[in-house]
């Protein structure tokens, strides 16, 4: 099922805004898969799928926080494809959406690296203009960086959407597969989130809070 042109435009806009929010700013959580997934689900008329598929890659996104100059995956644009892969499929399978989202997040990490190296090359090429303080040179470099980020985010979202149509068109997996693959994907996500949380927590009250929260969450899942 191919969504309407309006929905495609909305999805492209969502993914592009997410990519921009992560790299250029303003960094207000618009790039988080939970947010992108929810908006994508609303656009596709399937908010429940958007919430579910947005939540799962969030486990992986919690591993690496954009601290300092650390290199991190870009989950935002990929989350659009992840939701579309599940929402557009006749037989929705969570693991397929997650696979699309994770592969796109890896591509996003590489694209960020290229973009930042490109920004350095651009600044080096403009070294003479910077030295001479040509009028508007700082603005030109800043907007050039913003445009590169815009194109990067748009292309990533487009790739995610194309991948999602391909994945949605695949025949349903054998019945035994989805439970195993979902469990593997979510188990890996749990490891990623806990690794990140343990790294941030260090020791003391924060790590106690982490374990308390974990026990409370586990208790809720058992009781539910």
């Amino acid at each position: 099922v191919i969504p309407s042109l309006g929905a495609i435009a909305g999805l492209l806009l969502t993914g592009t805004a997410a990519g921009l929010d992560l790299a250029s700013g303003p960094q207000v959580l618009l790039a988080r898969p939970l947010v992108v997934g929810t908006i994508s689900g609303l656009i596709l008329g399937q908010p429940a799928i958007g919430l579910a598929i947005g939540s799962a890659p969030e486990l992986f996104a919690l591993e690496v926080l954009p601290v300092g100059a650390s290199r991190y995956p870009d989950h935002g644009p990929g989350a659009v494809g992840a939701v579309a892969a599940v929402a557009l499929a006749p037989a929705p399978e969570l693991w397929r959406g997650l696979a699309v989202g994770l592969l796109l997040a890896m591509a996003g990490a590489q694209s960020l690296l290229w973009m930042r190296r490109g920004a350095a090359r651009m600044a080096n090429r403009a070294a003479a203009a910077l030295q001479a303080l040509e009028p508007g040179i700082l603005g030109r470099l800043q907007w050039d960086g913003f445009r590169r980020d815009l194109v990067r985010s748009l292309l990533l979202t487009l790739c995610g959407l194309l991948a999602s149509w391909g994945v949605a068109a695949l025949p349903a997996s054998p019945p035994r597969w989805p439970p195993v693959l979902n469990a593997v994907a979510l188990g890996a996500g749990a490891a990623a989130a806990l690794n990140g949380a343990l790294r941030s927590a260090g020791s003391g009250r924060r790590v106690v809070a982490l374990w308390t929260g974990l026990v409370a969450g586990l208790a809720w899942t058992v009781l539910a």
Binding site: L103, L138, Q142, R205, G213, G217, W220
Partner: protein, 242 residues
């Protein structure tokens, strides 16, 4: 548009030209440019030197970069020697970065995201993630404005203003909230697709392997790479098993 307002708007996308050489230096220079315009009329040479300084290497936290932008601009108007301003700029990188990392990246962000995940899993409400974005937008606007004004007000004495800020008091409570929220969110999200006993065994085994191999000591692969690899192995195993 007033120079301070323009600088504030530019600070919201301060990392657009971020690169591994100057880091956010160009963005900081671009944000400082409207604040230095009056200097162009009164002292063109000083203005040129000030812009050179403002666009050089700088790395801190995007939310708090305004402190450096404001302090540098104020120091330029106060006629502080260029060398001192450069030293101030270099000295601000670490404390601003550390404050932002502890308060925002490792505190407020995971706390808000974790709480949103818990809220979504418990109440299935689509507005919760959007409320999280609205909250962070308010925080971003407030912190950026506070940073810029603190810098502009303090100039070379900005170090004292940073020492005195009450924002530091939020580091520990936000860290605790982040730990609790993320801890609670993980099992709730896993519960999305893991319900039966065999699924719990598979998910737990995968998580255990991940915790042992993707931990801080063995950061050869990150969680995303591990997830993709585990999915590929599981797919292969299922295909072989028929």
């Amino acid at each position: 548009v007033r120079p301070e307002r323009l600088a504030f708007l530019r600070l919201l996308t301060v990392q657009a030209s971020w690169n591994y050489e100057r880091m956010s230096g160009l963005g900081v220079g671009y944000a400082a440019e409207p604040l230095l315009r009056d200097l162009e009329r009164s002292d063109p040479q000083r203005h040129a030197d000030a812009l050179h300084r403002a666009g050089g290497f700088f790395n801190s936290h995007p939310y708090f970069a305004g402190v450096a932008v404001g302090a540098e601009a104020r120091a330029e108007y106060d006629g502080t020697p260029g060398g001192q301003i450069e030293r101030l700029r270099a000295a601000l990188c670490s404390p601003l970065g550390a404050l932002g990392d502890q308060l925002i990246w490792a505190g407020l962000w995971p706390a808000v995201i974790g709480a949103a995940l818990v809220g979504v899993r418990l109440f299935h409400a689509w507005w919760i993630p959007l409320a999280a974005v609205a909250l962070m937008t308010l925080v971003r606007v407030w912190v950026t404005r506070w940073s810029l004004r603190t810098g502009l007000r303090s100039g070379m004495r900005v170090g004292g203003a940073l020492q005195a800020t009450r924002l530091r008091r939020w580091v520990t409570p936000l860290g605790v909230a982040a730990g609790a929220a993320v801890g609670a969110a993980v099992p709730l999200v896993v519960h999305l697709g893991v319900r039966t006993a065999p699924e719990v065994v598979v998910a737990s085994a995968t998580a255990l392997v991940g915790l042992l191999t993707v931990g801080p000591r063995t950061m050869k692969v990150n969680g995303v790479q591990f997830g993709v690899a585990m999915l590929a192995v599981a797919l292969l195993a299922l295909a072989v098993a028929g």
